[in-house]
Assembly symmetry: C2
Homo-oligomer: 163 residues x 2
């Protein structure tokens, strides 16, 4: 598996395929996720959004997307992380997350926040973040909808950058 | 005092004056706040952002700005509420907040979230929200900076709209 930080035009379609394959995202979420890809393609390195794309034998199998939180000194939101279901269980997600954390730390940021749903569908997602060293710092009940709360995770990194 | 939901071009300067007068917002925050005003002026009623502007004798003395949270059924973020310090203590903030809540409920949304800093400077701000019926649902320590956490408030409204 290879992980790259450049985003290519062809990735848009590949990432849509990955996102749809997971079955986790509705049309609105899908559209937001792909907008960020388009924004990154249009703005390049100047974009607010950082990406890592995982490839296996030249085929896109997953990605992570994050960005600094405006108005904070060192906080980052991990917006999206998705892995092709056919490639799950092989450490792709963990490798993406660790590579993202290394890049975040390298940019001098140390607090990685991830938000996810409290619904049963997300039990494996939440278990994954806990396994990767994240802790639950807040739960907002009924945030998304009645019975569908928001769970907020945090991992504090040790910055490797010199300011 | 009058409260209106239309935003005028002249408000941009007046709201900048109010925001600066409070002494609570740095240049980055000011610029974000004014961008939302510009966005609202450009997009009009189609804007994602809702505003209420308070006037006293034709002079702008405060405002509130909020918007629905994407991907949620009924949650709203109250982004900004500011009152000219010369007019504080007269119930302008409370009137703005209650008018905003009435409009939010009228649009069928019921969960109003407000985020503020845990710093000592915001003790009066936090006391204001508690007085207005908000409760603290989460605290993220060191979110903005070391020693500067994020405090999240929530008020659950009773929707008045028929879907």
């Amino acid at each position: 598996m290879e992980i790259r930080s450049t985003v290519k035009v062809a990735d848009r379609q590949a990432l849509e395929r990955v996102l749809r394959a997971t079955g986790f995202f509705n049309d609105e979420e899908l559209s937001v996720a792909l907008e960020l890809v388009s924004e990154r393609l249009a703005e390049g390195e100047g974009s607010h959004y950082r990406f890592l794309v995982a490839e296996e034998g030249g085929r896109v199998v997953g990605y992570a997307c994050w960005g600094p939180i405006l108005g904070t000194l060192a906080s980052v939101d991990l917006y999206w992380i998705a892995v092709d279901p056919a490639e799950q269980g092989k450490g792709v997600g963990k490798a993406l997350l660790e590579a993202a954390e290394a890049q975040i730390a390298g940019e001098g940021r140390s607090r990685v926040y991830i938000e996810t749903s409290s619904r049963a569908q997300y039990v494996p997602t939440r278990a994954f973040y806990l396994r990767c060293g994240y802790t639950i710092v807040a739960e907002l009940e009924d945030f998304y909808a009645p019975g569908d709360g928001k769970v907020m995770f945090l991992k504090v990194l040790h910055p490797t950058a010199q300011a």
